[in-house]
């Protein structure tokens, strides 16, 4: 997980046409495409949207291997449910398997629909997150009117995410160097759980202590409960509006075709 956290940011800080787009525009585009992907029930529409996303991926110069790896890593969670649809959905029976299992036509249809929706939304979100640094995502949300308190909590969380993954890694390495393995059947299960519990407790304690430290360091820089942030990103260029309008036009075209 930790490596994925770091490679995520590495990919997100590359330079390309997509990376250079304003993060607000990218966020709105992502939302529009995903909402449309979930809304439509036409497989052809989903295919066309997917082609558009793949085109954007090529523009963005993200390493394809990395991109596919991330999709493959995320897909199984929902893919599992989609693949089982033919067996659990009642309908016209296509084929009967032993053990009382049967494939239904409606199930196959629905399963394919779910899987394609899933592919569209995941490929879009992976494209978005690998072309936008996490900080810009939060800034985009803040500038689009997300509540101030929450966006401040979010931006601090994003900042400390990496620290915590490092910390977790340190704890894990220390445990590994003592031959601690959660799958070891020779030690008592309760003991393993207790060690994990202590690890998690350490993370909680660290959070509390860091929270205090951060508060004091913010206080010493003039923090008063309000958060006003300087955002370094440049103002919107015309190309951004153009890309947004293009995306909306493509979706309307796909829907009406």
């Amino acid at each position: 997980m930790k490596t994925s956290v770091n490679t995520l940011e590495r990919e997100a800080r590359k330079k390309s046409a997509i990376h250079n787009l304003d993060s607000r525009i990218k966020l709105i585009m992502t939302l529009i495409i995903i909402v449309y992907g979930v809304y439509t029930t036409n497989l052809l529409n989903l295919l066309l949207i997917e082609i558009y996303i793949i085109f954007l991926v090529f523009l963005s110069k993200i390493s394809l291997k990395y991109y596919l790896k991330r999709i493959v890593y995320i897909l199984p969670f929902g893919g599992f449910i989609a693949i089982f649809q033919p067996f659990i959905r009642p309908g016209d029976i296509l084929y009967t398997l032993p053990f009382g299992l049967s494939l239904s036509y409606q199930g196959v249809q629905f399963g394919i629909l779910l899987l394609s929706r899933l592919t569209v939304s995941i490929s879009m979100i992976v494209l978005f997150s690998s072309s936008t640094p996490m900080n810009s995502i939060i800034n985009a949300m803040r500038r689009l009117g997300f509540p101030k308190v929450l966006s401040m909590i979010l931006s601090l969380t994003v900042r400390y995410l990496f620290v915590f993954f490092d910390e977790l890694d340190n704890i894990r390495n220390a445990q590994k160097s003592r031959c601690f393995n959660i799958w070891n059947h020779k030690i008592s299960y309760m003991w393993i759980l207790r060690q994990l519990g202590y690890t998690i407790m350490m993370i909680f304690l660290n959070s509390f202590e860091k929270g205090e430290k951060i508060y004091f360091s913010m206080l010493s820089r003039g923090y008063n409960g309000e958060s006003n942030q300087y955002i370094e990103e440049p103002s919107m260029k015309h190309i951004n509006y153009f890309v947004l309008i293009l995306t909306i036009a493509i979706i309307i075209f796909i829907e009406l075709k």
């Binding site: 979930v38 992976v126 997150s129 929450l150 969380t157 400390y160 509390f208």
Partner: protein
């Protein structure tokens, strides 16, 4: 328990979003009135911590593994279910937007499950049981029931969305999270509570402190 995009139709997603925004309004108000400015950095760092905790695998006897959700124990430690809600909202937004874990359209449903149901159940079960039995068993029962009932709610939502049949969903989600609830959430939360109660009792909210502690 992260529902992916496409599993719940847009019309139903909106309902969950409305509920989340409604609770979110109270949560932000609560944060304004009850949290001094000191605790805002704390909530965010806890969010980062919970994020890391969620990526830790906890072994389950049948060779699989699960992970903790963490909102019940956060609510218990900070003494309000709104704290769990805020931390979970932050974590789920980052997971959805930056990691693709859980969908964007279903973000409302995911926050409803893990942020609202789990935090409120975990905290209020703990609060109700604490005077009756010792604090540590009530942490265990609160976190366990919170996760178990959340998984049932998740199965129900998928049924209402027409994605998964009711009985199969209840059996799969229920059984799996029954075990995760006991091992991953219940026992681990109890250990965390016990350890923090012994080491740094000042960090636990006064409402949740174990007063029978032996010094």
């Amino acid at each position: 328990m992260h529902i992916p995009d496409g599993f719940i139709p847009i019309s139903q997603c909106i309902v969950y979003y409305v509920i989340v925004i409604f609770v979110g309004y109270f949560a932000v108000n609560w944060a304004k009135n009850n949290l001094d400015e000191k605790q805002i950095p704390l909530l965010s760092v806890l969010g980062a911590g919970v994020f890391a905790i969620m990526s830790m695998n906890i072994p389950i006897p049948w060779g699989t593994s699960g992970h903790m959700i963490g909102s019940p124990i956060v609510s218990i430690l900070l003494g309000s279910p709104f704290a769990g809600f805020l931390v979970m909202t932050v974590v789920l937004i980052i997971q959805a937007l930056a990691f693709g874990d859980g969908g964007v359209t279903v973000l409302g449903a995911n926050i409803f499950n893990m942020g609202i149901i789990a935090s409120f159940l975990g905290f209020y079960i703990f609060k109700a049981l604490k005077p009756l039995i010792h604090a540590i068993p009530s942490v265990f029962i609160g976190s366990f029931l919170a996760i178990f009932i959340t998984s049932i709610a998740c199965a129900l939502e998928l049924f209402i969305a027409g994605t998964f049949p009711l009985t199969a969903g209840l059996v799969f989600m229920g059984l799996y999270h029954f075990v995760i609830g006991i091992v991953g959430e219940g026992i681990i939360s109890a250990i965390v509570y016990m350890a923090i109660n012994n080491l740094r009792p000042d960090l636990i909210s006064k409402k949740s402190l174990d007063l029978k502690r032996e010094d």
